[in-house]
Symmetry: C2
């Protein structure tokens, strides 16, 4: 077979995409919500189809070379395009390490190695790049991971925006660990490790898009030690996810769909900083949809819930941990429901369209 | 310890960077040549310092979990920002898979898994994204790798340029394999698997920057099968590298420096397509500095050279393979020298500054 036989003949392929938005990428495709899901399914799953991707997690697992070993590998990748590159509480470097460390950690895995590829815009201040590298180095040390390979490309001015960083994380995972989006069960409690919406509001504030001042800082942090504190107590954990783009609402909708359950949240127990609540009220945002970069959702049998809260609260990154809801059998459609403060209920849907572009 | 203690205090760090170019990133920092090397050493090596990175290869190795196993893992990462995204002979998707497959392959490793993260510009045609995904899928099948994890972000129009793709490859490598840039030895032959400069000239042509028409197609291709054909014959290979950004000249300079040897090239034996030669002459380019994306340089003891040429030529991707030079002891400074057609010699220096931005 000649290699030219393997080159694509695009005429043979039909276009399966719904011709929405005049067949163009719009910001909503990067929201992390329904449109992102549609894009991934209609293009990437379709052509890259394999059992690793089909699991629909933010990470993939592959076996150790020695099949008898009790550990396997777990890998995850993320592009980071946050704007601005420095914001209260963090920067794109801390975000790039934390985001990938957290994706590995919510699989139950222990992150070990990171690769980082940089796309730099011509004209970027070297001093800024240095600050970002320092921040990545410090965050990597905090998480106990090593940055073992990298790449740097430069795009001409106006073809990129200062710095984009893609990171890939590689970690180890016990063969018997089954912490996945499809494992939530009726009777489980839903726990969040702290206040929601901090990252999104801090980034908006840094862009001067709030129209007022706020003291909110991003929560961006590597969560692997906090998470391992829970797992090393041999506590039964069914699902873990970090509610980043699309916020708690979108993450819980994904879990409800994958596990085919109803998740009922209690509005009164949702931990939200007063500044975040105020900002959301003034802007008409729902904090449930605002991105977090240093929070984890843990879904576990109710008998473990108080133990988990205790362990989380013993660590500075988990001091505001709360039980925020419970899992029950789905009636007909899996969904997320909120019991409101005034005693009603409302459906909490997945984010559709884009609320806050370039948030991570 | 509070986590805030771990946040960077930039005031404590001095800026070690030479304040060239007014302290800004310029296109030359992405050339793959001397300026890229300076940037990596002054920022990334400085702050990410660890033994994996310090080896200075395009890949990093890490041990299997079972230390007694005879295989280890090898990982590599690359950002791809080629402009335009479609060019004669390939596209950014085929490039993103091939580039990473080839980086793993030149370690002597067998690539297994790829992760891909996409940065899309608002307004990108979905049809173009689909074509790219198809091309990635076909190239992955050709190379026998699976795309196991991914991420998609969208930047607002004008903040990126159509599509950027970062790929990370993971492969397996025999514990005893030592194919590295520092292994070239006096008496070795220098082999190239085919014609040089095709990719760079094809991309320039696609940008209409040549000022004339040419039929040159990019050589972009995954080389893992070609390379494994050589290695599975148990032929002693000292160095393998794919001469991408900065071309054959820059790659050989890196090898000469790492191995502390002199490499002498023979101009008459350098395989160059007539169209590439003509284009270079008209534009004043030296084809030795033009990027390749489907070529490998192999440095081996002279007694194996003819066998390697035979094996390479038996595969369509290696049909123009040639012995192009030899390795000798360095006098004082390691360098690359060219014996010219008219019988003289000239020094072939590393690329400094940028010749062709956005070439890969």
């Amino acid at each position: 077979m000649k290699t030219s036989d393997l080159k694509p003949d695009f005429s043979k392929f039909s276009c399966p995409l719904p011709l929405i938005h005049k067949g163009q990428i719009v910001l909503g495709h990067g929201s992390g919500g329904r449109m992102t899901k549609d894009l991934i399914e209609s293009i990437f799953y379709r052509y890259f189809d394999n059992p690793y991707l089909r699991k629909g997690n933010d990470f993939a697992e592959f076996n150790n070379l020695d099949q008898k070993a009790n550990m396997k590998w777990v890998v995850s990748t993320d592009a980071h395009i946050v704007k601005p590159i420095f914001f209260p509480g963090g920067d794109i470097g801390r975000l790039a390490i934390s985001g990938t460390v957290n994706d590995i950690s919510v699989s139950g895995g222990i992150p070990k190695f990171i690769t980082a590829s940089f796309i730099l815009e011509e004209g970027l201040q070297l001093r800024d790049l240095e600050k970002i590298a320092i921040s990545m180095s410090i965050t990597a040390k905090e998480a106990g991971v090593e940055i073992i390979a990298g790449d740097t490309k430069v795009a001409e001015k106006g073809s990129a925006d200062k710095v984009f960083i893609s990171t890939t994380g590689i970690g180890i995972l016990n063969q018997n660990t089954v912490i996945r989006g499809d494992q939530a069960k009726a009777g489980d409690s839903v726990i969040i490790s702290g206040t929601i919406g901090d990252h999104g509001i801090a980034v908006l504030a840094a862009r001067n898009e709030l129209g007022f001042r706020t003291k909110v800082e991003s929560d961006v942090a590597p969560l692997n030690i906090l998470i391992q504190n829970v797992l090393k107590q041999n506590i039964e954990v069914h699902v873990m996810r970090d509610p980043t783009r699309g916020g708690v609402a979108t993450t819980l909708n994904e879990i409800a769909l994958q596990s085919k359950v109803t998740i009922t949240l209690d509005e009164t127990s949702m931990p939200i900083k007063q500044e975040v609540r105020s900002a959301c009220e003034m802007l008409g945002f729902d904090p449930l949809y605002i991105a977090n970069e240093g929070k984890v959702i843990i879904i576990s049998p109710i008998i473990h819930a108080e133990d988990i809260i205790q362990i989380l609260q013993d660590h500075p990154l988990g001091k505001d941990a709360k039980i925020i809801g419970e899992v029950s059998k789905a009636d007909s459609t899996p969904r997320v429901i909120m019991k409101t403060k005034i005693g009603g209920t409302r459906i909490v849907d997945m984010l559709s369209g884009e609320m806050l572009p370039r948030i991570c």
